[in-house]
Amino acid sequence: MALSRVRAMPTASGAGLRLPHLTDVVATRPSAAWFEIHPENFLTNPHAAELLVDIARDYLISVHSVGVSIGSASGIDRLHLARVQALIDQIDPIFVSGHLAWSTHAGEYLNDLLPMPYTRETLRIVSAHVDEVQDALGREYLVENPSSYVGFSTSTMTEVEFLSELVHRTGCRLLCDVSNIYLSAHNLGSDRDRYIADLPADAIAELHLGGFTPEPEEGGGEVLIDTHGSRIAEPVWAFYSRALKRFGPKPTLIEWDNDVPALDVILAETARADAVSQSTFAPKPSHALAS
């Protein structure tokens, strides 16, 4: 299925809207192209939901769920999905997205985005869940590539092959987390440039950038932890520019979920993302050669 309710989304960068900034945004209406929220922060917080509805009157909102868990072999949480739908009905977001991961298992929520092998069985399960989510929401669902620390020797396809087939089977679109590609390639020793070269660019609706934290590993080297608790690392900005060249201009979100700073700091990162995008696509000066 391919349900399309995608409205015009600016290619300017947006900011993750977290609970500490809600009252500030309501009071000051900062200059921001759009915000992305985690519905799980609002579903059981009536005050926060009230502020969000107010904010949604003036800003485009993207809804990014961390709890739908399309990778759960024990099934998705339909009650949670219904609650997300109820919030969506109130704020009419521009995008709704989630992760290629699982976080619930047999009635338990593991509060993390957990890895899974990329096999035909996993593809069948995830495709069925994406179909179910899109049917329930009545709109396209954006699936985000995960940050990975560990893979599976039993995988029979690469992550890009898995995502491409998922798009083909379900008509879903992709949320490409550029930082996750960078981080996963570092952690698992894969080729990040090959990843963006092979990803179906037409399916990409949104990009993510987030900070990570290097941690030393026993035996040497370091693993990059997807903490979303710092500025975007310098090498990721260069990689982001290469991704833009491949995908074209896309709305890009700055994620900052831990040690959340003042909103101005996050908005400064969105401004930098916009500057990188502008310089990536700026016409190159031509030199008149004397003959």
């Binding site: 005050h47 949480d77 699982w102 619930t104 593991l110 509060n111 560990v150 893979g151 952690n187 693993v223």
Partner: protein, 260 residues
């Protein structure tokens, strides 16, 4: 070959129960030690939910100390994973769990304090609605009132305790650290009211508490009044109703379907 369900069950055990990845290990890849990589998820599960509980019950840490509170939260997280993705709902059973921990016997009021914190957290994120006015009662025949139900503000909770935990939480909130603080057992009936980031705790007389908590529990005004009169024969239900409405706590008066 393990099915996806079996793999996820084993990852679940490795993340929550700290079980060795066991038969999972040959399937994992990444880094020099894939088991250590999987442990990153275990650490995140433990650390994020422990932090959530400590943030939700700060007065418990103040009362029992960081060491006790952190160890209790870590044990709770292992024993009681969340059931839903909204972490704001996580921890309703934590006060009872706290009371079962070794060392909790020296603080017999800790569970009640934690329950009060839970209620405060809930009412603080509520949204209040326009309350009924006393004048709106004029449109209702007085003889019908006993059969009516009241709908109260959503940010309203009633609880009892065998210790004056309202005083204790005020000590915590005032950041007071008196050298000596006499704390004696005493029954208290508390009304916790809040909305939009604010809250207030009030101690009620027993009959007033019984009346208000019964109304909040869904019984008719008449039944609530009878329960209060059982406590105190001089209780005046009419005045109690007026006080409830005047306090802005009632948002609707409904006709009864059935009595609870």
């Amino acid at each position: 070959m393990l099915s996806l369900l079996e793999i996820q069950h084993r990852i679940r055990d490795a993340v929550i129960a700290d079980d060795a990845a066991g038969p999972l290990l040959p399937l994992l890849a990444g880094g020099r030690d894939p088991a250590a990589r999987l442990a990153i998820h275990r650490h995140h599960y433990q650390a994020s939910l422990t932090r959530a509980l400590l943030d939700k019950f700060p007065a418990v840490s103040w009362l029992a100390g960081e060491h006790f509170a952190t160890a209790a939260a870590q044990a709770f997280v292992r024993a009681h994973p969340p059931a839903v993705p909204c972490i704001a709902e996580y921890g309703a059973d934590y006060p009872a769990f706290l009371a079962s921990r070794a060392g909790a016997e020296r603080l017999p009021y800790m569970r009640a304090l934690a329950e009060l914190e839970w209620h405060v957290g809930k009412v603080s994120i509520a949204v209040d609605r326009a309350p009924l006015t006393v004048e709106s009662l004029a449109s209702i025949d007085a003889s019908e009132l006993p059969d009516r139900h009241l709908t109260l503000q959503s940010g309203l909770r009633y609880c009892t305790a065998e210790w004056p935990i309202d005083d204790l939480i005020k000590q915590y909130l005032s950041d007071a650290a008196p050298e000596r603080y006499a704390f004696s057992a005493a029954d208290v009936q508390l009304e916790i009211r809040g909305a939009r980031g604010e809250f207030r705790i009030e101690r009620l007389a027993e009959a007033e508490f019984v009346f208000r908590s019964a109304v909040a529990g869904g019984v008719t005004i008449g039944t609530a009044a009878e329960r209060a009169l059982d406590i105190n024969a001089t209780f005046d239900p009419g005045q109690a109703l007026l006080r409830l409405i005047s306090a802005g706590l009632v948002i609707a008066i409904d006709k009864p379907e059935t009595d609870a």
